[in-house]
Amino acid sequence: MIFAELNWGLLDQQLINGIQLGAIYALIALGYTMVYGVLKLINFAHGEVYMVGAYIAYYTAEQWLDKNSMSPWLLLAVMLLGAMAVCAILGVTIERLAYRPLRGAPRISILITAIGVSLLLQQGGLLIFRTSPQPSISEQVNPFGASNFKNLPILGDLTISWGQAAMFGVSIVLMLLLWWFVSGTKTGRGIRAVSHDFSTASLMGIDVNRMVAITFVIGSALAGAGGMMNATALGTPLDTFYGLLPGVKAFVAAVLGGIGNIPGAVAGGFLMGIAEALVIWMGYSNFKDAVAFVILIAVLLVRPSGLLGSVGQEKA
């Protein structure tokens, strides 16, 4: 009875929508998973870093620079790099001021601190950022802009909008860069060592504080990039709660993939995005978030440490 209602012709288009959505979830999920990897901390302030990234992109495009007289490509690049840089500084500042002093404290204290930082950024942001009227990045900033509406045909009737294609491309490039950094560089190896065993890594002469700081720099910069791209391509009006829902979804994606595991976060992000699109396709859009959590529970019942998480990773 359910299947009789389905419009099979829309399935491929909805899958493409889901993959685009998943790329952004994956980008944010990486920050959660990397921080958890090194500190065993759920960084609840991560969604707020994403929010700051979106705001920096807005201020860059609409106020600090003159969008009418500069090359749109240069403007976009400055917005992306600016958002990533400011978020990196913010992330490392949060780590230095809020988390590092509590390094030896019980994990629950640092968890509560993370929630505190999240609230501080949400409410404190109301004092700093413009929220009334809620600002949004104008369509003209996007060089895919007016042609935002023109679609890139993939195959037959299948289309993807230029803006979404660009978002997807940048996300993939950033993920590949991260993969190269973590697996191919000495610092990356250091991060993996800290993630494997914090105290032993420090005994082996690895500067753990530096590794943790670098982790925050990378994770926050990725969140900043996600915030900038979503705000620019979709034109969502910003407020300081902008990161709340994406933060929760990306957190679920990270847990789904196996928190602490980098490919897992990417897999979890794509799985969430595609699942959401399929639920919408089946005509149950009012249950789309519930389904995300049902999948989470189902996966965790079968694989308690997530899709790609290794069993026994969690040390008592």
Binding site: L90, R96, L97, L127, S132, Q134, S138, F149, G235, W281
Partner: protein, 415 residues
């Protein structure tokens, strides 16, 4: 380590300063047409017969009586939290009306004092704030709130205390049943839904409509229900309905589904935050049909966030800065003189009107106590206010025309 800490603090402070120090740039030079919400038509008040029978229990509370030299009026508004943009405006509007009344000599020589409490946009905080106003500040009447979810519990407090409350912008129909102490200066969702259905069916000629609802928002769900009920009553068909929840940014999935059903109109009952991205993305999936919605669309930012996709859309509002009425022109100019900017949304005008209805009632009230003021509010008739000519109906709601706005290129120099 100390230096690093200092460095971190300085960089954080620099970023904050950089952001805070920035002033929004001025708009384009005058004489150049800009996108704007232009008044399109008015839908006269009618009884839609939706929302069920209204039962208004009579309060047994004693109410408050004037003490001291000033007439104390309370106001609840979201001055913090996500609904701050609306709370701030409603407070500015009410304060303006009361300042004007005071400058004109007050009520029988007595000055009106407005005591504002912050609700943070939260029902529980709003309830406590109202209790504080009613029991410790001894206010004679309360103004506010904007959000129905906060107004509900606050109105219960007023109902049991016997203090009248005039809501600024809460459109939830069922609030009328709170009791005889509850009034509002805005229309109800039942009227708004019916009026939009009538407008779409009669004026836009839409017969097959698609509905997009924010299922997390009782406002949106209620408005969609009332719209659907009246639209089908008129003979129209709802060909497709899809859902999302507040905070969603990607709507292409839902829009792809709706387009497949070939509607000739798209009704979106949610808040403006999601309407902008929907408008941008509907073009991306090729859903080029008239888009329209309710007063949740009210924000000057929607024209920017909606981009080209919002042009030619319609929504129903309580008020527009561009309306060609004397009351509106006076309101906009005095508001601008006092606060330095034009009203950012309709809550400024509705806050002003809520205070205006109350001031009008204070002038007519037999005595300075809550019960007399309530009776005077209930008999408000033909009051020329900013958002229209207000008559308070037997259900406590303002009976006035609904305004339809359209997104068009507007030339400010043609004023």
């Amino acid at each position: 380590m100390k230096q690093k800490l200092l460095l971190a603090c300085i960089s954080a402070a620099l970023v904050a300063g950089l952001v805070a120090g920035c002033k929004p740039k001025d708009g384009p030079a005058t004489g150049e047409p800009v996108p704007a919400w232009v008044p399109f038509s008015e839908v006269e008040w009618f009884d839609a017969g939706l929302g069920g029978e209204v039962v208004r229990p009579v309060s047994t509370g004693a109410g408050n009586t004037m003490e001291g030299d000033t007439i104390k009026i309370g106001m609840i508004a979201s001055l913090s939290g996500a609904e701050k943009p609306w709370g701030d405006e409603s407070k500015k509007g009410a304060q303006l009306a009361i300042d004007q009344a005071n400058e004109a000599g007050g009520i029988n020589g007595k000055q009106i004092e407005l005591i504002v409490e912050d609700t943070g946009g939260l029902p529980a905080t709003g309830k406590t704030a109202t209790e504080r106003l009613v029991s410790s500040k001894k206010v004679l009447a309360v103004l506010g709130e904007v959000a129905s979810g906060v107004t509900g519990p606050s109105a219960e407090v007023c109902q049991s205390a016997g203090v009248p409350i005039i809501s600024v912008g809460s459109t939830r129909t069922a609030l009328s049943n709170t009791g005889n102490m509850f009034f509002r200066v805005c229309y109800t969702d039942a009227f708004q839904g019916a009026m939009l259905a009538k407008f779409a069916y009669d004026d836009l000629g839409i017969k097959n409509v698609a509905i997009l609802t924010d299922k997390q928002l009782p406002y949106s769900v209620g408005l969609s229900d009332d719209f659907r009920a009246f639209f089908t009553k008129l003979g129209g068909t709802v060909v497709a309905e899809d859902f999302y929840e507040k905070g969603t940014t990607d709507f292409k999935g839902q829009l792809t589904n709706l387009k497949a059903k070939n509607p000739d109109g798209l009704f979106c009952s949610g808040y403006f935050t999601e309407i902008g991205p929907i408008a941008r993305q509907r073009a991306a999936v090729g859903l080029d049909v008239p888009m329209f919605g309710g007063d949740g669309w009210d924000s000057s930012e929607l024209l920017n966030s909606g981009g080209e996709g919002i042009m030619g859309s319609y929504y129903s509002n309580h008020y527009s800065n561009l309306q060609d009425r004397e009351q509106v022109k006076n309101f906009v100019s005095t508001f601008k003189a006092k606060y330095g900017s034009e009203p950012a949304n309709a809550m400024g005008a509705l806050g002003y009107d809520a205070a205006l209805v109350l001031i009008d009632a204070l002038k007519r009230a037999a005595a300075m106590d809550s019960a007399s003021i309530r009776d005077a509010i209930a008999t408000t008739s033909g009051l020329e206010a900013v958002s229209g000519t207000i008559t308070i109906g037997p259900d406590g709601n303002a009976q006035k025309a609904g305004l339809i706005l359209k997104a068009e290129m507007y030339d400010p120099s043609k004023e």
